[in-house]
C-alpha cells in the first residue's frame, strides 16, 4: 500500500461515516417535518388543546415551552457564569477544585427522571411550590448548570493568557480584565453552550412531568398580573410544554386525532428549536461584533 492509496482509502471511509451521520440526521428531521408540517395551521398554533374532542391546538404548550426556557436561563445563566468565571480565573489548582469539577460532571450525567423526582420531592412537595413552571425551571437548572458552567469555563480558558497579561500590565484589576477583555472574547463559545442547553430544555419531558406538570390550564394572554392564576406570566401555575404534550397525547391521549396533534407538535418543536438556534446565533454574532468590532 502506498501513501496515496492509503490517503484515498481514509478519505473514502471518512466521507462514508459523515454520510451515515448526515443521512440519519436528515432522515429523522425530514420524517418529523414531512409527517408534521401538513397538519400545521394557524388554528393549530393559536388555539388551546382539547382533552376529548378533535381539533385541539398547542397555543399554551408552545408559549409554556418558551417561557420555561426563558425562566430556566434566567436562573441558570447567572449561576453558571459566576461558577465558570470562578473555575476558570480564580480557582486554585487543588483537590477542592478538582472535587468540584468531578461533582459537576456527575451532575451532568444524572438521568433526567432522577432529577425530576428529586425536584418533585424537594420543591413541589417539601417547599410546597406545587406543579409549576418555577419548579420545572429549577429542575431544568439542575441539568443546565453543569453543562453551562463547564462550557463557560472552557470558553474563558481558551482565551490566551497573553490577554490577561496585557490587562494586568496596563494596571487593570483581574476583575476588569475578565469582564472587559476575557469575557467579550469568549462570547461565541458561551453562546454555543447556551444554544445547546436551550435545545435540551426544549426537548426535556421526563423531568418536567413531575415538576411543571401535565396540565395546561386556560391562560389569559391579556392578564399581565403575574400573581393571577390565569395570567400567562404566572410562574406558579402548572404548565405543560410541547415535549410533555407529545408524551402525554401518545401515552394517555383519548382525543380522536392523536396522530395529527403529536406529529404537528413534534414538527413545531423542531422548528422552534431551529428558530431559536438561528436567532441566538444572529444575536450572538452581532453582540460579538459590537464588543470586539470585528467584521
Amino acid at each position: 500500500m502506498n501513501a496515496k492509496r492509503n490517503d484515498h482509502l481514509a478519505t473514502g471511509i471518512i466521507y462514508a461515516l459523515v454520510g451515515i451521520v448526515v443521512i440519519i440526521l436528515f432522515g429523522l428531521i425530514g420524517y418529523i417535518l414531512v409527517s408534521g408540517v401538513p397538519h400545521l395551521s394557524w388554528h393549530f398554533l393559536t388555539s388551546p388543546s382539547k382533552s376529548f374532542a378533535a381539533g385541539g391546538g398547542i397555543r399554551d404548550q408552545l408559549f409554556n415551552s418558551v417561557y420555561l426556557l426563558v425562566l430556566t436561563l434566567l436562573i441558570s445563566f447567572p449561576l453558571a457564569l459566576g461558577a465558570g468565571i470562578y473555575l476558570s480565573e480564580y480557582a486554585p489548582d487543588n483537590w477542592l477544585t478538582s472535587l468540584m469539577r468531578t461533582a459537576i460532571e456527575v451532575l451532568s450525567s444524572l438521568p433526567s427522571v432522577v432529577v425530576g423526582l428529586f425536584a418533585y420531592l424537594v420543591f413541589v412537595i417539601q417547599f410546597q411550590i406545587g406543579f409549576s413552571i418555577l419548579a420545572g425551571a429549577i429542575a431544568l437548572t439542575f441539568f443546565n448548570l453543569p453543562l453551562l458552567t463547564r462550557n463557560i469555563e472552557t470558553s474563558l480558558s481558551s482565551v490566551p493568557n497573553l490577554q490577561r497579561e496585557a490587562g494586568i500590565a496596563l494596571g487593570l484589576s483581574s476583575w476588569k480584565t475578565i469582564t472587559g477583555i476575557i469575557l467579550p472574547a469568549a462570547v461565541p463559545g458561551i453562546l454555543t453552550g447556551v444554544i445547546l442547553s436551550a435545545g435540551r430544555v426544549f426537548g426535556e419531558a421526563a423531568a418536567l412531568i413531575y415538576t411543571a406538570g401535565q396540565s395546561a390550564p386556560a391562560l389569559n394572554y391579556a392578564n399581565w398580573n403575574i400573581f393571577d392564576t390565569n395570567s400567562f406570566l404566572n410562574p406558579f401555575r402548572p404548565a405543560e410544554t410541547l415535549a410533555v404534550h407529545i408524551w402525554k397525547v401518545n401515552a394517555e391521549g383519548i382525543v380522536p386525532d392523536i396522530d395529527v396533534v403529536s406529529n404537528g407538535t413534534a414538527a413545531v418543536l423542531i422548528i422552534v428549536i431551529l428558530a431559536f438556534n438561528l436567532s441566538a446565533r444572529y444575536v450572538g454574532n452581532r453582540l460579538y461584533r459590537r464588543l470586539t468590532s470585528s467584521k
Binding site: 497573553l162 490577554q163 500590565a169 496596563l170 494596571g171 477583555i181 464588543l291 468590532s293
Partner: protein, 258 residues
C-alpha cells in the same frame, strides 16, 4: 561568579538591589543589583533560561501571587517591591510590551481607550488626543488613522506589536519594559519596531530583553548580560560588545558558548 558592573553618573530611572526571584523552591534570579539610566535604552541579553525575562517581569510586579521576589526595586526613591505599594499604580508607571503581540479583540481605538477609561480618563477630547499621540509615538498613526474602528486583530503582526506599544504609551508611563518585542516579527516589522524604540528614548526609559545580539547592539545605549540567573556584566553597549570585561560575556557574544 566573576562580574563587572560599570558605574554611570547618569540620572537613574529604576534600580534593583540584591533582587532574587524564586518559583516554589526553584530560584531563577540571584542577587541582581542593576541601575537603569533614565531616558536610555538598556538591553538585557543572555541565553534561554538565564532568568532575564523573569528579572524584567519582576520590575513591574507582574509576578505578584505567582512567585517570591526578594530584594529591593527602587523607583523614585521608593522600594516598590513591598506589599504596601499598590502594584496597579506601579504598572501604570512601568508599562510592558510582550514577546507576542497581544492586542485585545477590540477596535484599534478601543485597544487604547479601554485601559484609559478604566484608569479614570473619560473626557472624549482627551481620549482622542491620547489615541492620536500614542499611535504617532508608536509610528502606527499614518497606517491606521482612517480606520480606527477596524478590529485590531486584522492588523499585521508588526502593526499589532506597535499597537501594543501605543497601548502601553497611552497611559503615559515613565518606563517601558519590552520582553523580546520583535522575536515574533519579520525583519521589516522588526526594523519598524526598532525605529520606534529609538524615537521613544527621548521621553521614556526602555528596558528590553532580547535574544538577538545584533538587535541589542543596534538599539541600546547600555547592555547587561545575564547568565544562570546572575548579572555577569553591565556596560555601555559599545564597550560590552567590543571590549567585554568578563570572559563569560566575551564567550557569549562571540558565540563560543559551551
Amino acid at each position: 561568579m566573576e562580574n563587572y558592573i560599570a558605574k554611570t553618573n547618569l540620572e537613574l530611572a529604576i534600580e534593583t538591589k540584591n533582587l532574587e526571584v524564586i518559583y516554589g523552591d526553584h530560584q531563577v534570579v540571584f542577587d541582581s543589583s542593576l541601575e537603569f539610566p533614565r531616558h536610555k535604552i538598556t538591553a538585557i541579553i543572555g541565553a534561554s533560561g538565564s532568568g532575564k525575562s523573569t528579572y524584567l517581569r519582576s520590575l513591574n510586579r507582574m509576578h505578584d501571587k505567582t512567585v517570591t521576589v526578594n530584594g529591593q526595586i527602587v523607583y523614585r526613591g521608593v522600594d516598590i517591591n513591598q506589599p504596601s505599594v499598590n502594584a496597579y499604580e506601579v504598572r501604570k508607571q512601568i508599562g510592558m510590551v510582550f514577546q507576542r503581540p497581544n492586542p485585545f479583540a477590540k477596535s484599534i481605538r478601543n485597544n487604547l481607550v479601554f485601559p484609559l477609561k478604566e484608569n479614570g480618563i473619560t473626557d472624549k477630547r482627551v481620549l482622542d488626543e491620547r489615541v492620536e499621540e500614542s499611535l504617532k509615538e508608536a509610528a502606527l498613526w499614518d497606517e491606521v488613522k482612517d480606520d480606527l474602528n477596524k478590529s485590531a486583530l486584522e492588523l499585521s503582526g508588526g502593526q499589532q506589536q506597535r499597537l501594543c506599544i501605543a497601548r502601553a504609551l497611552a497611559l503615559r508611563p515613565d518606563i517601558l519594559l519590552m520582553d523580546e518585542p520583535a522575536s515574533a516579527l519579520d525583519p521589516i516589522s522588526t526594523e519598524k519596531v526598532e525605529a520606534t524604540m529609538r524615537k521613544l528614548r527621548r521621553n521614556y526609559t526602555i528596558i528590553i530583553v532580547t535574544h538577538n545580539m545584533q538587535q541589542a547592539s543596534r538599539v541600546s545605549d547600555f547592555t547587561t548580560f545575564f547568565h544562570q540567573g546572575r548579572v555577569v556584566e553591565f556596560a555601555p553597549t559599545q564597550e560590552l560588545f567590543q571590549t567585554p570585561r568578563v570572559k563569560m560575556t566575551e564567550d557569549y557574544i562571540s558565540g563560543n558558548f559551551g
